[in-house]
């Protein structure tokens, strides 16, 4: 099974970078990565379609801001929740669900299994290269959670 682990975010926009950071960390700890591609991308909406085509399984890491969220918390989401994370919706264009449906209609090979991990963040409005401390210190726990969830699947 060919798997893509795709981290979304902007590396210079504070916590927005968390999806990218998590992919970098997962690359270090996943033992047998022959059938896994690790991709970091600053994209949203339909452009995600360009990245995921041709894979059997997709693991997406993105950020989210909830009204009463606790920064660093990780949530596993299903397709029906897809429109509410940071980059799966696009303020300029189309959301991910529509993109997937479009891809299917025009005959693209869309992954059959799609898992989304959304990480609660604190700040994504200020340009800086560092994450907020709460999000930074949560990284080991987030990695443990994802690895535990996917035991035997990587």
């Amino acid at each position: 099974m060919k798997t893509l682990i795709l981290g979304l975010g902007n590396p210079i926009l504070s916590d927005d970078a968390i999806g990218i950071r998590i992919v970098q960390e997962l690359k270090k700890v996943i033992p047998n990565a022959d059938n896994i591609d690790f991709v970091e991308a600053s994209i949203a909406g339909i452009s995600i379609l360009d990245e995921i085509t041709g894979y059997d399984r997709l693991i997406l890491i993105d950020s989210i801001r909830n009204r009463k969220g606790n920064a660093g918390e990780v949530y596993k989401m299903k397709m029906k929740d897809l429109n509410i994370t940071a980059h799966l919706a696009s303020s300029h264009g189309m959301d991910f669900v529509t993109a997937i449906e479009l891809g299917q209609r025009v005959g693209y090979q869309i992954p059959k299994v799609i898992d989304i991990y959304a990480i609660e963040i604190e700040n994504n409005t200020i340009f800086r290269e560092k994450l907020s401390s709460k999000v930074e210190t949560s990284i080991p726990k987030i990695i443990d959670t994802i690895m535990e969830e996917n035991k035997g699947k990587f």
Binding site: N66, M77, H92
Partner: protein, 486 residues
């Protein structure tokens, strides 16, 4: 892992937020549109080496990275006082033309067309590309995808990466094009020309032959008599990559024409207490508030503005389409905001024709792609026509080339005052004596789509398409109704 209730924040503070204030009679007194801005970009850049800017600035925005990259490379040419070689300019313009095609086609078919092709009264959930495909057929959807794919491939081929190109350097570009590259580019350009013709024919058949749509485009909705600005070549024809900035008045007469380096002599920015966005206006006319007309310094940019500010298109098929648009809409300039969509398709065809011209130019494979800068840097300005309008990059450095001051004026900022006027006009026509017509949200959304504001430029993390909230306040300032796009 805990089970929690997901309750995401649907907008950043101030994002796409509209405040409407009513008077004692319940009619609209004033309406304000707040567009947010990400903070700290200038400070983020200051202290860094200027030559990093073409790689940093595309990261502001996932929508028009190529525009930021090229504007930044041009600002570096000016900063280091080095003229790019002729082949380098052509390679940059070639990549930029591919980007204009891709962006315009994407906008029209994915954002603009659903309003017209699926029907104005169709529920919002069906007003998207899937609704368009249902109406016009899967084959057309496939063509849209194909032209996007081919033009993005050309951007990747020249720029290194499609999302964040890296080819632009002060004085030129980093990579020579081979004969094999040239052939591939020529094939893609030919496909794009055919697609551009097809898209205008579709617009003709589906939109212009429908009286309801034509009336909407040509009618008074969102009609604002403003000034218009855009880059023009030496013949005053539209140019996306280079030239002088030309401004025409609401009667279509030339008001100013200047080297982009002198932008600050013509354009002033005005801060406001209720939004982060600084409103640009024409310095010599002055700021008269959010009103249109010859005495108000408000100007517009983007496709229709570029066509209004020019004397025509530089390529033959686009010129034909340009003449047709002005014939149908009653001559120049056209003030109807919904005509931005039509102008967008004309520009897309122009981009394709220009791309083809450049692909056939023998100089495009010339290996002389860079002049090496030798001067001490001080200050530089770079301007391109982004799909959404004039984009200005302005850098100052110390003698080592370390940035001391950075100013960017993005297209959405130029159009922000006009967008506020469109919102107010829609509000005035749909709120009477305290009664709010449910069409308000849709009307505001249509105006937004025509301008194609680059919200992603300001805000990456926004759930939902174009989040929008409208608060209506009574004469005492209390919120009496909130409309939200679900």
């Amino acid at each position: 892992m805990k089970c929690i209730t997901i309750d995401p924040i649907t907008r950043l503070e101030g994002h796409g937020k509209i405040e409407i204030f009513l008077n004692d009679e319940g009619n609209v007194e004033k309406a304000y549109l707040q567009i947010p801005e990400l903070r700290g970009f200038e400070q983020f850049c200051e202290g860094r080496a200027a030559e990093e800017m073409p790689r940093i600035t595309p990261r502001i925005c996932g929508v028009c990275p190529t525009a930021h990259h090229i504007a930044s490379a041009k600002a570096l040419d000016d900063l280091f006082k080095v003229e790019p070689t002729s082949p380098a300019k052509k390679i940059r313009e070639l990549m930029y033309s591919a980007f204009v095609i891709e962006d315009h086609i994407f906008h029209f078919f994915f954002l603009g067309a659903p309003e017209f092709i699926t029907g104005l009264k169709v529920p919002a959930a069906q007003r998207n590309i899937l609704g368009v495909i249902d109406k016009v057929g899967l084959e057309i959807g496939g063509k849209v995808i194909e032209v996007r794919k081919r033009t993005r491939k050309i951007i990747t081929l020249i720029g290194g990466k499609v999302v964040h190109p890296v080819c632009g350097l002060p004085g030129g570009v980093s990579k020579v094009l081979t004969e094999e590259n040239r052939k591939e580019i020529k094939d893609a350009a030919e496909y794009a020309v055919e697609f551009g013709k097809f898209a205008l024919k579709l617009f003709d058949d589906v939109v212009l032959k429908n009286k309801e749509y034509l009336d909407l485009i040509a009618g008074d909705v969102y009609k604002h008599r403003t000034y218009y600005m855009g880059l023009v070549d030496k013949n005053n024809k539209v140019n996306f990559y280079d030239g002088d900035l030309r401004v025409v008045d609401p009667d279509g007469k030339e008001f100013a024409k200047f080297n982009p380096r002198d932008y600050a002599d013509y354009i002033e920015e005005r801060p406001s207490v209720w939004t982060y966005v600084k409103f640009p206006y024409l310095k010599k006319i002055g700021w008269k508030g959010l009103v249109d007309g010859k005495d108000s310094g408000i100007f517009r940019v983007a496709p229709l503005a570029r066509l209004n500010a020019s004397d025509g298109m530089p390529t033959p098929l686009a010129q034909e389409a340009y003449e047709k648009m002005y014939d149908v809409l009653g001559g120049k300039p056209v003030h109807n905001t919904l005509a931005f969509h039509w102008a967008r398709l004309i520009e897309s065809l122009c981009g394709a024709e220009r791309m083809l011209e450049l692909a056939k130019d023998p100089e495009i494979t010339d290996p002389n792609i860079r002049n090496i800068p030798t001067e001490i840097p001080t200050e530089g300005v770079g301007v391109v026509e982004a799909p959404r309008g004039t984009l200005i990059h302005h850098y100052k450095t110390d003698k080592r080339g370390i940035l001391t001051d950075v100013n960017l004026i993005v297209a959405t900022q130029h159009n922000a005052p006009a967008m506020c006027m469109s919102v107010e006009k829609a509000a005035k026509s749909l709120i009477k004596e305290g009664k709010v017509d449910d069409a308000l949200l849709n009307m505001v959304e249509m105006a937004f789509r025509a301008y194609d504001p680059c919200h992603a430029c300001a805000t990456h993390s926004l759930p939902g398409q174009m989040p929008l909230e409208i608060n209506i306040h009574n004469s005492e300032g209390k919120i009496i109704k909130t409309l939200e796009q679900s």
